[in-house]
Amino acid sequence: MSRVGRNIHVSVDRLRQLAHRDARPRKIKADAGTCPKCDSHYSADEMSRNLRVCPACGHHFAVTARERLEQLGEPGGYVELWPELRAADPLQFTDLKPYAERIADAEKSTGMGEAIVCAELEVRHVPAVAAIMDFSFMGGSMGAVVGEKFARACDHAAQKGLPLIVLSSSGGARMQEGTLALMQMAKTVIALDALAEARVPVVVVLAHPTTGGVWASFASLGDVTYAEPGALIAFSGPRVIEETTREVLPSDFGRAERQLANGQVDAVVDRRELAQRIGRILHILSRPDVDPTAGTAPAGLQWAQGGAQKVKSMMDRIRPGSTDGEDAG
């Protein structure tokens, strides 16, 4: 329990996981994966239960967008938005392989239509709209579909008066869509202002990696910005910098912990505490009925009303000193 005393952000789920983990004997199964950092072996089932974080050393593995939604929301409790949008090939682009072929391959191997999934969900009982990027689909790169879905998510959240949760994991703009991919940076930044006008917050979670045109557009404009441990966060990647400037970079260059020290993010948050931290900040930021700046409450802005009470009771339960009763919750 000493871990709990140190960190008031430990969630109920996290406690369950810790208890669970300690009780389980270490087994190596046929479908086991190996942690690249500490060489521990885990079954696929174990990995998924531990949100794809190595229980031994805390290494954060990549997570698909749909699995992220399961992790953040209630199990199966999300409604995906605009899954039908697909990339066009405006340049008839070919590098080592035609772009059209790359898209078809990515769809086949990931089962996703594009590098972003948007959904309506509840995070710890707080309703929200989420825009989650998936690095496994062409490096999470941003082309016209990612830009359009992100912009629609902003509009949708603003119209419904819901906060927006953005999870970025991307190598930047999708080069195969050329100049039009670059323009998605402008499109997404402009779209974010719909939320400013609706006075609802934007929480950005920077997952590994968040680089290039995605970091230099919406990903760096969150009201609250969390980063996952070890995530690379940079406009220019280390290789490009070393080749251009001949600098020798430290091994932790651009990593979340260093970017926290640089003042670029608000906190580095362990994935196993992420949903709880997002629910908590959205609860803190949720307003009562009256908008103090406008004098009256604009319609549709009480975004956390539905879940506020539930969140409050949960917060009461996880306060330091009251954690011993956790198992009953």
Partner: protein, 308 residues
């Protein structure tokens, strides 16, 4: 100066280029365009500003950390009115190139740009940006001081401005470093300039895993003014003197002066709220995709030649 002096001839030439069937200029033309966009004698930002403004006062520093010589910003008199000019600045000889950091601005550059934009907006002064950069500076120090956030906030500020805004790609417009100054009511592009998601060399190294495939990359990206006009990325293609802008700085500046003056006059007539709405729509519709639900592709771009 006379508005008609360089009128018809240049416009016709550009219109013909844009009218060419298909979006593929012959490969040699395309590579020539890439070379011309980065020609060592091509006029740079201050070459235009000093010729177009009767007076110009350059501002220095971001008031947070330092002054970035790779990006110049200040206020000038343009056709008897104040205009804020902001642009990346390249250098011509080795010393000046180093001093200007090859036109690759760091966060201080974009924050200086934002500082000048804020003043312009408060005083009701239009903002003109001149884009000429191989990209934002890729350096550890730039990253530590928030290169990504500086660019995204510059994009955000340009979108939020109430005053008329014009962006002009005058040479090489590559990557987010270019777009950081690119969100405007009207986007102009010089005939032989390029506007691309990445430099041909950068793309060559990443996509072909071979630094020598720059020419191939340029052909794949087709980042010419004519194509950017077709895609709807730019609104006006500004002609250059015969042979390219580097052959005659005076004439290049005169032509740009006319096009800027015309665009400014057009924008003056539009109420601020309408301008901002149109600015938003302009960028919102960029990017073709397939929407099977509606049974149609969401196309952008245009087929018609540029307005003369």
């Amino acid at each position: 100066m006379s508005d008609k002096k360089h009128g018809g001839r240049f416009v016709r030439k550009v219109a013909e280029k844009v009218r060419r069937p298909g979006s593929d200029a012959p490969d040699d033309d395309l590579w020539e365009s890439v070379q011309l966009a980065r020609h060592a004698e091509r006029p740079y930002t201050l070459d235009y500003i000093n010729r177009m403004c009767s007076e110009f006062e350059e501002m220095h520093g971001d008031r947070l950390y330092g002054d970035d010589a790779a990006l110049v910003a200040g206020f000038g008199r343009f056709h008897d009115r104040p205009v804020a000019f902001i642009g990346q600045q390249k250098g011509r000889d080795t010393n000046e190139r180093t001093y200007r950091n090859f036109g690759m601005a760091g966060p201080e550059g974009y924050r200086k740009a934002m500082r000048v934009m804020e003043i312009a907006n408060r005083l009701g002064i239009p903002v003109v940006t001149l884009i000429d950069t191989p990209g934002a500076f890729p350096g550890a120090s730039a990253e530590e001081r928030g290169q990504g956030g500086a660019i995204s906030r510059s994009i955000q500020m340009m979108w939020r401005l109430d005053v008329p805004t014009i962006a002009v790609v005058i040479g090489e417009g590559s990557s987010g470093g270019a777009l950081g100054l690119g969100v405007a009511d009207r986007v102009l592009m010089l005939e032989n300039s390029t506007y691309s998601v990445i430099s041909p060399e950068g793309a060559s190294a990443i996509l072909w895993r071979d630094a020598s495939k720059a020419r191939l990359a340029a052909q794949a990206f087709k980042p010419t003014a004519a194509n950017c006009y077709r895609w709807g990325v730019v609104d006006v293609v500004v002609p250059e003197p015969e042979g390219g802008a580097h052959t005659d700085h005076e004439q290049s500046a005169e032509i740009l002066d006319q096009y800027l003056y015309r665009a400014l006059t057009d924008l003056d007539a539009i109420p601020s709220a309408d301008r901002r709405r149109a600015r938003r729509e302009r960028f919102r519709k960029l990017g073709p995709l397939r929407d099977p639900e509606s049974g149609m592709g969401m196309a952008t771009g245009r087929e018609t030649p540029p307005p003369g």
